[in-house]
């Protein structure tokens, strides 16, 4: 920029220990800052350090463990470290995707918190040059009986829908769970998936000295200042009264920003681009410079602001939404500006790249910031926090558990329990059809969206079973990945890669850190065994109130590829008199099952172990069957066990089933409701049974004929038939009835 004289850095107000603490920096972290810059920081600099060294941006507690995750594979174009992960799917196309949490903001202002969470993740995806084609959302709420839960569900769901619907991307899948451990700390994990051309991916790293840095999008206001720090601090009794300004989303502005960004990218105007997410201008500018080994000078007088009298501190830390920072090809300035004006968006050159690797910020003739740009990110503290392994839970012997109800009653109870009840009330508030490519709508194992006009299709799902993770973080971590893999295979897709969103409590407590470490190890083991790499992710810690942490919740978002979307399998029974077959080994595992919790009222035991090789064999086998159209319906088995899976297939197809008895060596309830892993239910035409058995044998996958599709009821041996209409009413009815009790 111009060489106007700027006065020296002011050191007002004085930095006091209180001020340091308020910025969430530990005394030793502040000491490190002093050593790094050799003087006392200005208040703006302190704010910048607090943002950059905060858990959310620096991953200081999780970094050394995240490094152990498998991130490579022939399909991977970009692994973790950019705005989103990128994989190749052939035909010169790439899929860009990531998941991110907006937990605390969604508790404070459910609608706007959830909405801006969706907005943020969409920006991450289109920043890389991809047009978003689908969204998913994984939601965890407190006990339905908790007085705040209903209000949170209502606001969060409306917010997710409000943003995605208006932006114009289909929300095709997700999950919703309830547990008292999320009272006061609900989770909102949003995932976005976009499509780009492999040779037109855009990255954050700046290149070239003296290149203009352009501010794009909406104006800067005082939104969410300290939002990023808030996301890393535990909630206390009074957190509700000390609420900081929450960000308000404007999906309309974001839709315009999308179109404008894709247009300037197509016109080859962009050297580097980065969205402004957590810690806004600070994070984006520092990352662009640091990644490109360049310095950055910003002139805050040029930043478009919404409010008068904003200080440098406020502008640097504002989390106003729908903004981007771009390094522009200088010769394209006019062209780029015209595009942004056409879309009615702000466009302002606010700085330039410099050779000296310093981050310099000027405001009203004063240099407010002058910091070493690399060290801001690279020298952020990294902790190897002490961690203790969770105590092993005893394996529960199913023969020692009494079945308190007839199985038919137990099934009805499970199907209308909060976690298993239909989530239609939620996903009908999401436009899941816009763009006209939704092949499989919500309600099945994985959503399927067509890639352009086909024939390729993408399968998408989010999964995790937090109660397993709590009981055994390692097995739980494995299971989350395995279930994701299974849901993709169940529609016939080849699992390609995943994104993770690790939600945990306070990592400064060794037992919580132990959960995080255990889950990451489990995820890594599963990714390796299944050749299913992690390409992006997000960590959300300090999810606890008054010392009570959430259940460890490492949400996994999976992407799979179908060569022909028209060949995807669905869960619905297709015809009567077809053979129902169970694939995989059943041991009748009731520990940590929903049956144990919902029917027996006990939440205990070791979770089902995951045999990753068995998982792989079963998944590959099922995918092959689907590819050859050998099976008529497919569903994986997860929460609730075998009979819940069968019931979901029956409801989806509106065709009942007559089931045969359990094998003699298992308890009946263990067989029907056990949650053994690596299993699927499929239907085949009876005449194919012989060939099917031979194929299964060759693939090393155990099979068992468990019944036949038939009539309009589900009949377990020796029990009353369960009419589908009655079951549907219970299954579909719980959530609307619960929410209907208050329209708030």
């Amino acid at each position: 920029m111009s060489a106007e004289p700027y006065s020296v850095i002011p050191n007002e107000p004085k930095i006091t220990p209180e001020l340091v603490a308020e910025h969430g920096l530990k005394p030793e972290e502040y000491q490190r800052i002093l050593e790094l810059i050799g003087r006392e920081p200005t208040i703006t600099e302190l704010g910048i350090f607090s943002a950059m060294w905060n858990e959310y941006c620096s991953y200081k507690s999780s970094k050394i463990h995240l490094r152990t995750l498998p991130t490579a594979g022939p399909q991977v174009i970009q692994g973790p470290g950019e705005n989103a992960g990128v994989i190749a799917i052939g035909d010169g196309l790439a899929v860009v995707f990531k998941m991110e949490s907006h937990n605390h903001p969604s508790y404070i202002e459910p609608y706007q918190g959830a909405a801006t969470g969706v907005g943020g993740i969409l920006r991450d995806v289109f920043t890389m040059g991809a047009r978003p084609i689908a969204c998913l959302n994984a939601l965890s709420f407190g006990d339905p009986k908790h007085p705040k839960t209903r209000h949170l569900v209502s606001g969060v769901v409306a917010g997710v829908g409000g943003y995605g619907n208006s932006f114009g991307v289909p929300t095709v899948g997700g999950s919703v769970r309830f547990h008292s451990r999320y009272d006061g700390n609900n989770l909102v994990n949003a995932m976005a998936v976009g499509l780009a051309e492999t040779d037109k991916i855009f990255y954050a790293a700046a290149s070239g000295v003296g290149m203009p840095i352009v501010y794009l999008g909406s104006k800067t206001g005082r939104d969410g200042i300290h939002g990023a720090s808030m996301a890393s601090a535990e909630f206390g009794e009074d957190s509700e009264s000390k609420r900081p300004t929450v960000q308000v989303g404007d999906p309309f502005a974001e839709k315009l920003l999308l179109e404008a960004c894709l247009e300037i990218m197509a016109k080859d105007c962009v050297i580097a681009i980065q969205d402004m997410g957590a810690a806004g201008l600070t994070c984006s500018a520092v990352e662009m410079g640091a990644k490109g080994d360049l310095g950055v000078v910003l002139d805050l007088d040029k930043v478009p602001t919404r409010e008068a009298g904003m200080t440098a501190y406020e502008m640097m830390l504002s989390e106003s939404q729908e903004r981007m920072l771009m390094v522009l090809k200088p010769e394209k300035e006019k062209e780029a500006e015209d595009i942004f004006r056409k879309w009615g968006l702000d466009f302002a050159i606010v700085g330039e790249t410099t050779p000296d690797k310093r981050f310099v910020v000027r405001h009203q003739g004063v240099e407010m910031v002058n910091l070493p740009i690399k060290e801001l990110g690279d020298e952020a503290p990294v902790y190897d926090r002490p961690h203790t392994a969770s105590p092993k839970q005893p394996v529960i012997d199913a023969t020692m558990i009494e079945a308190p109800l007839p199985h038919a009653d137990a099934l009805e109870k499970l199907m209308s329990s909060p976690d298993l009840a239909s989530k239609r009330w939620v996903w009908e508030q999401y436009d899941h059809l816009i763009l006209g490519n939704t092949v499989q709508r919500p309600g099945g194992d994985a959503a399927v969206v067509r890639v352009k006009e086909g024939p390729k299709g993408l399968a998408l799902t989010t999964d995790v079973t937090p109660r397993y993770c709590e009981a055994d973080p390692f097995e739980g971590g494995k299971q989350a990945v395995a279930e994701t893999w299974r849901n993709l295979c169940a529609v016939g897709a080849k699992p390609m890669a995943l994104t993770d969103n690790l939600n945990f409590g306070n990592p400064e407590r060794p037992e919580i850190m132990g959960q995080l470490v255990g889950c990451i190890q489990g995820i890594a083991a599963a990714c390796k065994a299944l050749e299913f790499p992690v390409v992006s992710g997000n960590v959300s810690l300090y999810n606890e109130t008054n010392g009570r942490a959430i259940l460890p919740t490492p949400t996994i978002g999976g992407v799979g590829l179908l060569d022909d979307f028209a060949m995807s399998a669905s869960i619905a029974f297709k015809a009567a008199d077809e053979m129902i077959i169970l694939l995989g080994e059943t041991r009748g595992w009731l520990g940590q099952s929903l049956y144990l919790r919902e029917v027996c009222g006990r939440e205990e035991g070791a979770p089902p172990p995951v045999d990753l090789m068995a998982e792989r064999r079963a998944g590959d086998f099922v995918r092959g069957l689907i590819g050859q159209q050998f099976v008529t319906a497919v569903h994986d088995i997860s929460d609730g066990g075998l009979v819940v899976a069968v019931a979901e297939m029956a409801l989806a197809g509106n065709i009942g089933a007559r089931l045969y008895g359990a094998p003699a060596f298992l308890t009946e309830h263990g067989f029907w409701f056990g949650e053994d892993q690596a299993r699927y239910v499929v239907t085949i035409k009876p005449e194919q049974s012989h060939e099917f058995a031979e194929r299964a044998k060759a693939a090393g996958v155990p099979i068992r004929r468990i019944g036949v599709t038939h009539g309009n009821a589900l009949t377990l041996p020796g029990e009353r038939p369960i009419l589908l209409d009655a079951l549907r009413e219970k299954h579909e009815g719980w959530l609307p009835a619960y929410m209907g009790a208050a329209a708030s």
Binding site: G162, F252, K255, E428, L433, G436
Partner: protein, 233 residues
Amino acid sequence: MKAAVVVFPGSNRERDMAHALRLVSGREPAMVWHGERDLPAGTDLVVLPGGFSYGDYLRCGAIAAHAPIMEAVRIHARKGGLVMGVCNGFQILCEAELLPGILLRNASVKFLCRDVHLKIERSDTPFTRGYNAGQVIRVPVAHGEGNYFASEGTIGRLEAEGRVLFRYTDAEGKRDPKWNVNGATNAIAGVLNEKLNVLGLMPHPENHVENAVGCTDGRGLFAGLVAHFAQAA
């Protein structure tokens, strides 16, 4: 058939609409930016697509109704040209007073995306000649404000003049409050203007034109329009 799809800031089903038009008519529609003052010469059909023009702020369609292109749309309609507004497009046509009434918040107050059954009330219009009168089709809705409302007098006139073209029913074509997805007066899903050349409807026939994604019940609307113009030519 030469179709023009008007794109407002915040429109988001314009691609879906263009895809359906292309698929059924075999011809690429013109995409017309809201800031234009003229429609492409020779335009047969103007389509206002779904979406959230101007974020749906103030009232759905209220700001878009004043866009520069709307004057050309008005003239096109006055001259007897066909205009079709789907979802947000319907809302815009009401706000622009090219159609009577207004679309209020859904009775459930929530945005709803689901398949609905529509009864085709008459087949002697350019929009429905691809169907039989009384036929029931399945198409999706995706809206938060589709609850059609007009004064009693207006509703009476619409009914008397046969200007209610689509109605929410069950799969057999029977009216039932349970199937009236948004609580619309008389289960009205789509209405015509007096000259029967301007149509507004809430559901999205453009999303049901392929078996691979849904079904093909929406095709009849586009096929009927193509036939209409083929005959006129």
